[in-house]
């Protein structure tokens, strides 16, 4: 049997031991997510940051990995190919994203109508299919759709009398082809997010507005817009980040060509990192891209989301 002294000391030990850790359940629930984020997100990011200040050529490790300061950043910022690829990506973003949002809004407004509920349900399910398709497969589907001889694109344009086009071999058309595939895949995402926004509008308010005016544009602008803006901000942030790191579909569809017509920034970074194996330079480029993404996101939040508040 334990002595009274020992009994008195016994329960204190674990209490002291655990007292350094917070008792809040929120802490314990967050720990796994934080750990996963640290391993999957933070550690590679820190490693990329470290690499970006070093010479780190995978195929020439014999020459060592010396600290090179900001040399990789200077080399990146003075590399015309980097700027060309960045410009191409910006053009892609500026043209494709508004189209996706506009088409997504159009689809969301159609699905928001109350007629034929079963059609709405079927349409919602079918909207998920392009999003669920792997990027690389989207690129391969693109190669088939835009094949000059057998592709459905030339078949459809042929119906209205347009002669067959070299979709993937003409620099402008190749750019357009990649745009079309991205719009095909990601317009449904915009539609679903915006539809969620529309469903937040109180029914009474919407009915009252419809009694006030038959113009859908008035209802959209004055009533529905505030409910759409948070979703729109999310779309802008997520799609911008996605487009800046778009790689798989482009690589399988055009491999960045013809020439450099579809060499977007991520395709270029992959080329530097995994064809030239210059991990230091590729890391510097990736860090610059990350900064750009953060700046863009802050701008969206500042100018779009704040308007909703």
């Amino acid at each position: 049997m334990a002595s009274p002294v020992m009994h008195a000391r016994g329960p204190r030990k674990p209490a002291r031991y655990f007292s350094v850790l917070p008792r809040s359940p929120a802490f314990w629930f967050l720990i796994p997510a934080i750990a996963a984020l640290a391993i999957i997100g933070i550690y590679p990011l820190l490693l990329a940051l470290y690499n970006s200040f070093h010479q780190y050529k995978l195929a020439d490790l014999a020459s060592g990995t010396p600290f090179v300061g900001v040399d990789n950043y200077i080399a990146t910022l003075t590399d015309p190919t980097f700027w060309e690829a960045l410009g191409r990506t910006a053009l892609f973003l500026c043209v494709t994203l508004p189209i996706e949002v506009a088409l997504g809004l159009f689809a969301a407004l159609l699905l928001h109508r109350t007629e034929l509920p079963w059609m709405r349900a079927a349409a919602r399910v079918s909207l998920v299919i392009p999003m669920a398709t792997t990027y690389a497969v989207v690129g391969l589907i693109g190669r088939l759709i835009f094949n000059r001889q057998f592709g459905v694109a030339n078949y459809l344009t042929g119906l209205i009398g347009i002669p067959p086009q070299d979709w993937l071999a003409d620099p402008t058309l190749a750019f357009v082809s990649v745009m079309i595939m991205d719009i095909w895949q990601w317009t449904p995402f915009c539609a679903l997010i915006l539809l969620a926004g529309l469903s937040m509008v109180p029914k009474e308010a919407e009915e009252a507005a419809r009694l006030e005016t038959p113009k859908w544009s008035m209802i959209l602008w004055h009533l529905q817009r505030p409910y759409l803006l948070p979703g729109l901000t999310a779309i802008l942030i997520l799609r911008s980040a996605d487009m800046l790191k778009m790689f798989d579909a482009v690589f399988t569809m055009t491999r960045g060509g013809p020439g450099a017509a579809t060499e977007f920034i991520s395709v270029y970074i992959q080329r530097v990192g995994f064809r030239l194996f210059d991990q230091g330079m590729a890391s510097a480029q990736a860090i610059i891209l990350l900064i750009l993404t953060i700046v863009l996101s802050r701008l969206y939040i500042r100018f779009v989301y704040r308007e909703a508040a």
Binding site: A59, A62, A169, P258, G259
Partner: protein
């Protein structure tokens, strides 16, 4: 050796007899040694070992896959492979080397040997050929086509790999289309092809020729380099400076622009599959492609060309027959453990052996052994053999430079070569840019200040 024997043989009948006896004795020793060595016994210590390889989705690898069970049965060594696209192979292998992956058998493209060997990622075969327990006495390295063993498997006079998947550029053509246009034989020169054959064979949606030119190694190796060599041009001169502005190189690149008129639209997006398919479906009359595509073109489920298919060497240029050269060797990963290295060597030695050359050929592969192609029955059965052997005998060993900087240069050519074809830049501007960027890469690597020997 020869210098020592000749005076001995001239010294008189006694010495002559002694030399003959010595030769006979050594031959007898070699034969008895050959009889003593068996794959089964050599593999006994490694039975149960699993070795891993990277394969491509090409006929030579499918052939190996058919034969591997035979090796596994005889040795107890398990061979596992992963099939990946060519474009990702180098990336995967380099990451394997630096990240400590589990690949034991290294697939080495002709243009990777310099990079892999310089980084000491491959084991020189001497380690195995010097070990009587592992070296098959019938290995006979001299039985390989010299150009293939030197180009695919050797770097700086050291051999690292044995040629496994071997190609030569050949001309595949549709003899029926040529006959309909009034030609009984294929063009003998590139000049004939452009000026005599191409105009007559291009009508409506039918085209004379397709030159696969998609951005990547296809543009640099199959398209760009293909027009340089036959015209007497080259990428680099003897001092590793750009030779693209030479009249011969310019003539080659201008020739390609002229020939584009007779190629299907969108040729800059044609990869191997598209070019082969264009011939298979009767869209084009002629292509210059790797010999390895013969099984694809003769497969009725993939090709409509049937008996109209004919094969010859690539046309000659002013500099003669300078066909494309490409292929892969198999080597042993220096990072694998000793047991796996030995097991891998036994597999490589076996699959590239003279004994396996015929089964490999019959399964769809193209062996690098000279002896197999001397067989008349083989020549008759495989019409690509004769032109391929002729091409290997007259080929350019450094058709593409094999130094570690080639992948970076290939990227430059991939981009600017395509731009040149599209007319986004002139031939001169494109050649100047490629030359400048190539020299920048080579300068950074240390070729111009003597830090690196001029090896390619």
């Amino acid at each position: 050796m020869k210098k020592r024997f000749i005076p001995a043989m001239q010294a008189g009948p006694i010495k002559h007899a002694a030399a003959v006896a010595l030769l006979t004795a050594s031959a007898a020793f070699a034969t008895s040694n050959a009889q003593a060595w068996t794959l089964k016994e050599a593999a006994q210590p490694y039975s149960g070992t699993t070795i891993k390889a990277i394969f491509l989705d090409r006929p030579g690898y499918k052939a190996a896959q058919q034969l591997i069970p035979q090796f596994e049965k005889e040795t107890g060594i398990k061979v596992r492979w992963e099939v990946i696209p060519y474009e990702n192979t180098r990336e995967k292998e380099v990451l394997n080397f630096v990240g400590g992956g589990d690949q034991d058998i290294v697939l080495v493209d002709v243009v990777w040997i310099g990079e892999f060997a310089s980084n000491k990622w491959l084991v020189p075969i001497k380690k195995f050929t010097d070990d009587p327990k592992l070296a098959d006495p019938n290995l006979n390295l001299k039985g390989f086509f010299p150009i293939l063993l030197d180009s695919f498997g050797s770097w700086d006079k050291v051999t690292y790999g044995l040629p496994f998947d071997n190609y030569s550029g050949l001309m595949f053509y549709n003899k029926c289309m040529l006959k309909d246009a009034g030609f009984d034989e294929p063009p003998k020169t590139w000049d004939d092809l452009l000026n005599t054959y191409a105009p007559k064979l291009t009508k409506g949606d039918k085209f004379a020729f397709a030159l696969q030119s998609r951005r990547g190694e296809t543009q640099s190796a199959d398209s760009f380099m293909r027009v340089l060599w036959p015209n007497g041009g080259s990428l680099l001169d003897a001092k590793f400076k750009s030779n693209l502005m030479s009249p011969q190189s310019q003539a080659g690149l201008e020739y390609r622009q002229k020939l584009m008129k007779y190629m299907p639209p969108g040729i800059v997006d044609f990869d191997h599959a598209e070019a082969v398919n264009a011939l298979a479906q009767g869209q084009v009359a002629m292509i210059t492609e790797w010999s390895a595509f013969y099984p694809t073109l003769t497969d009725p489920s993939k090709s409509k060309i049937g008996n109209c298919l004919a094969i010859t060497t690539e046309p000659k240029g002013p500099a003669g027959l300078k066909p494309a050269l490409g292929g892969f060797s198999l080597a042993v990963n220096a990072k694998s453990n000793a047991k796996k290295q030995a097991a891998s060597w036994l597999f490589i030695q076996w699959i590239t052996s003279e004994a396996m050359a015929k089964p490999y050929l019959e399964a769809g592969g193209v062996p690098a052994r000279m002896a197999i192609y001397e067989d008349k029955a083989v020549q008759d059965k495989y019409p690509f053999v004769k032109p391929m052997v002729e091409s290997w005998q007259g080929g350019v060993p450094d058709y593409r430079p094999r130094f570690p900087e080639w992948p970076a240069i290939s990227e430059v050519i991939g981009e600017w070569g395509s731009k040149m074809m599209l007319g986004q830049v002139t031939v001169k501007e494109g050649a100047q840019t490629i030359g400048q960027k190539t020299e920048d890469i080579l300068k950074k690597a240390g070729y111009y200040d003597g830090k690196k020997p001029l090896l390619k």
